[in-house]
Subunit: 104 residues, 2 copies
């Protein structure tokens, strides 16, 4: 695969009726990633097809940057409070970003 | 859902062994989207889990921008040649981007 960049889509489903709260919590986490070294994309998405689902689009300059940011103390990243809203474990689609508009 | 932005993940699977060619073709399409009005993200990704699959991450300022760009003559966008490599129809996950690093 070209380049060192890594990415992923993360699907998280909240307990019923908590989709909006989950998105708001993940947006706080996303804002916390703004100054994380190597963070190129950490976009929070809802989806019209599933009220309680939230998708995160991540792109990192490399695997190390991704691991460093995500392994920070869950509390510090704010993920702890968010995980409590989940109906089940997150699902991951691992990606190797190739390029295109939106990537620096 | 907040804001007018729309987004989607598009999963495309090439006929066996054509994953790299599909990604290269879609990268040409992506470069063509660089000046499409309202195109915020059009990122081509491969995935370590599936050699012949390519995922596109799209974010548009609104639905109209998305439709205008994607409804351009398939030939002009270069999509025509790419679709010939597919083993089956693309799959779509429609998104409502909420925010986070990487979105202007």
């Amino acid at each position: 695969m070209s380049g060192d960049r890594v990415g992923r889509y993360v699907r998280m489903v909240a307990v019923e009726g908590q989709g909006e709260a989950l998105a708001a919590g993940l947006l706080r986490v996303a804002e916390g990633m703004r100054d994380a070294p190597g963070c190129e994309l950490y976009v929070v998405n809802r989806t019209p097809d599933e009220d309680d689902a939230v998708w995160i689009t991540e792109v990192w300059s490399d695997e190390a940057a991704s691991e460093a940011a995500l392994n920070r103390d869950l509390g510090e990243a704010g993920l702890g409070s968010v995980l409590g809203l989940l109906a089940g474990p997150p699902e991951f689609i691992e990606l190797s970003p190739v390029g295109g508009p939106g990537l620096s």
